[in-house]
């Protein structure tokens, strides 16, 4: 267990996988050959640890499930009525020995899995900071209808539907919602977390490899939900400050008026950036100093929004 726990903070997934999980991973990878970008192709330590647990759990359970299914087929075939060689035992309805085994197998598996669950839930709690040599990058996330707003409080900039982070630096997210419940998820980087109006949730992720990663909302939030995805650009550490200064030279400023524009329901928003952001904006959204989104009536309806018989 201790080795397992240590393994969870390691970066490379393949070093600590048991054999069955490695086979499962190989099969999964083979079947997904040519594709990249899912949960089983993590690009950060959180994602790696999450998917490692996933494969381990599959391995543990396969050890039980595969023989069980095999036995089902074997019994069904051997004891078919047309098989004269099978012995008919109509009185075989109870066996103490079998009962003990039947109850023990699931119990033992669950006990082992319980250990995995306990350790994993604590190690990989989204709120748990990632230990690193450098301080984390702070990003404040606001889910709106139907786009994502990312505020960089340390750099005083903001972006919509586009998240740029430096490789290797842990990112600490603080999340809330401007209207309805959403969930922030980047499949290749790690765990998802819900966003709710008036409440702050947190998430900690790191990207290990440079690249573009798909991000989405996983909590259905209305008509524009399908367009509510964003791109995560993981860039080299020295490139990040250069991106920040580029943003700071161009684009609108995000003040409270600009925020009211963002609150209106729009779909399929194209990514853009703000060169500066009101530092108290996130806190104001969180504490309801700024009201939640108005929904489909007040402030103009978006395309294809036509509720019938409104209240």
């Amino acid at each position: 267990m201790a080795a397992y726990a240590r393994g969870l903070s390691a970066v490379r997934p393949s070093r600590y996988l048991p054999v069955s999980a490695r086979i499962a991973a190989a099969l999964a990878t083979a079947s997904l050959a040519g594709c990249s970008g899912g949960v089983l192709q993590p690009r950060g330590p959180i994602g790696a640890a999450d998917s490692q647990i996933l494969l381990d759990a599959v391995g543990i359970m396969s050890a039980i499930v595969v023989p069980t299914i095999a036995a089902l087929f074997i019994f069904a075939w051997w004891f078919r009525a047309s098989n004269p060689r099978a012995r008919y035992q109509p009185d075989f309805v109870y066996s103490g020995r079998l009962e003990i085994i039947i109850w023990s197998i699931p119990i033992l598996v669950i006990m082992f899995l319980g250990g995995v669950i306990w350790i994993g839930s604590h190690e990989l709690d989204p709120y748990r900071p990632i230990s690193a040599d450098e301080p984390p990058l702070e990003v404040q996330v606001v889910s709106l209808d139907w786009k994502w707003l990312f505020i960089y409080p340390q750099q005083r900039i903001a972006s919509v539907n586009e998240l740029v982070i430096p490789v290797g630096t842990p990112v600490h997210f603080e999340l809330t919602s401007a209207s309805v419940m959403n969930a922030f998820f980047v499949p290749q980087l790690g765990s998802m977390i819900a966003t709710m109006n008036g409440m702050k949730t947190q998430l900690n992720l790191t990207a290990d490899h440079p690249g573009d990663y798909y991000g989405e909302s996983t909590q259905y939030s209305g008509d524009g939900f399908s367009g509510m995805h964003f791109v995560v650009h993981a860039v080299a550490k020295d490139e990040f400050p250069r991106w920040v200064s580029t943003v700071q030279q161009d684009g609108p400023a995000l003040d409270r008026n600009g925020y009211f524009d963002l609150l209106q329901q729009t779909q399929n928003a194209r990514p853009f950036t703000y060169r500066s952001v009101d530092p108290s904006l996130f806190q104001a959204i969180l504490t309801h100093q700024l009201p939640p989104g108005p929904g489909p009536y007040v402030g103009g309806a978006g395309p294809n929004v036509r509720p019938v018989g409104g209240r």
Partner: protein, 687 residues
Amino acid sequence: MFVPLAVGDMLGKLTLNAIPLDQPIPLIAGGVVILVVVAVIAWIVLRGHLPYLWREWITSVDHKRIGVMYVLLGLVMLLRGFIDAIMMRSQQALAFHAAGYLPPEHYDQVFSAHGTIMIFFAAMPLMIGLMNFVVPLQLGVRDVAFPTLNSTSFWLTATGALLVNISLVIGEFARTGWLPYPPLSEARYSPGVGVDYYLWALQISGVGTLLTGVNFVTTILKIRAPGMSYLRMPVFCWTALCANLLIVAAFPVLTATLAMLLLDRYLGFHFFTNSAGGNMMMFINLIWAWGHPEVYILVLPAFGVFSEVIPTFSGKPLFGYRSMVVATLFICLVSFLVWLHHFFTMGAGGDVNATFGIATSIIAVGTGVKIYNWMFTMYGGRIRFATPMLWSMGFLVTFTIGGMTGVLLAVPPADFQLHNSLFLVAHFHNVIIAGVLFAAFAGLTYWFPKAFGFRLHEGWGKAAFWFSLAGFYITFIPLYAVGLLGMTRRMQHYDLALWRPWVLAAGVGILVFMCALACQVIQLVVSIRRREELRDFTGDPWNGRSLEWSTASPPPAFNFAVLPNVQGEEPYWHIKRRAIETQQLTAEPDYQPIEMPRNSPTGFITAFFATVTGFALIWDIWWLVGVGLACAYAVFVWFAWRDVEEHQIPAEEVARIDRARRKAREEWLATEGHEEWLTSHGQGGTS
């Protein structure tokens, strides 16, 4: 285009705008449905079937008739829900870098309706219908505890289904998913009538379901044949008991939670709103405190069906009866302790998440035990692969896989990546299709001869099974894969090429499923056409083991001429063995007149006014709400005022019916029963 009606306020918010004249799909679909309904009603009326239908079915309080009507409702709504599924899969198959043919506000209603209909109006009625038909017969008694209440329960469920279907042509349906999470479902973000349709349909049918729960708990615990102690009940009755205990304990939670949402929407309360202190997380906790027991309400009767089918077609008793009972009770209890696993990602912290994850894994123990018991029931048997047994095999293999993915999702770190993805969708379809749907078809095929007197055609039944099995795997294994690739649920369109092949494969799978559906329909038509060839003369077409097979097919209204005296498990099996051994039936009983409850239109009329009230509440037609409630109360008083509650079946009638049954049994005994006796004695006898 706004066309105000002259009656203005009298119709609340209802205007001609409510009819989707500018949306071709619901318009055509609604039109077709209305046409079919009108045609069916016209055929019934013009052919003079209405008096029969009213007398024998609509006002019936007989559990067998009510059971059949539940199943019929479930099958029709299964069809509607399946059409929604076809629309969803086809939309997703087409909507890669494209808009598809369903705009978001329509697609969102389709998937919400799909989930709502499938769970509340297809799966529940199918399971409740089977329980209605079978449980009193298996317990060796004449009816459930409260027959008129039973009828009312059915018609209230039908009311809910009707309201959901009306939303297709008048107004809209909810666009929130099958569970209306706030704040999306609050008036601010869903100002239309859609969520109201959903809420009132479920509140009304929820009352019906709760009453069913009360009815069956009382029946199973208080009304059994003499000698049938708890440990002599068939396992189907045990699972029915536990499912109904869950209904009694869980459905009030649904009622309360939806009532709070209704108060928010109608009267401006702040239970779950964004402002004034509302707490959306409370909705999620409450609704899943109902939601998780709900899935066990669905699956426990399914387990019960298999616990009947597998022993019968293996030719031996169920292995580990007491173990099964304990496992069922265990599942019943623990199902209330796991609800948080539906929202691990809401940020409850390591301790809470881990506790619920472990509890969820623990509940898998009960199910695992059952699978092994079924397996060892087959061991040492002589297995006949008739259609019900095929469905059971399909269930055993497929449900095990689904259960495995469920335990996988119970591990919070895994769930952090798979929550709300198509992996989750594949998991719950895996367990519900393999569990509830396969059980429904197994149970239907198994008990159809008992209900109607002739078997279903085997060939088409087997075809339906194989197409269903293939359809399931081809549709949902790709969804597991694409969930692992990061695709989330409820997407109206998507842009990642990575996901495309899997989504297309799932689209093919649904077509295979459609073939299965076609086979089921053909099976029904062919079986009815060829019913004389498929006739069940003795009442025991499968060599059954429990008491329902001792009656004729279909059983008379009173089920048993005299209640059987039960002295062991599998009472009917022993009756049969004794008859074969002694080569004669037991002596003819002394027939007495039997009192049965009178039919009553109460259920139907109450539901009619419930429909009126529900519709009026949705459209804010307040005067009609008052009228509907007053009339419903009046019906209740009128029913309470009747002087004669029962009618008597004279002893001669009972004797006549039962003698016909005995004659059929005697004929069987003289031919096949005699052969069996010869065989067993010729080979030195079996143990």
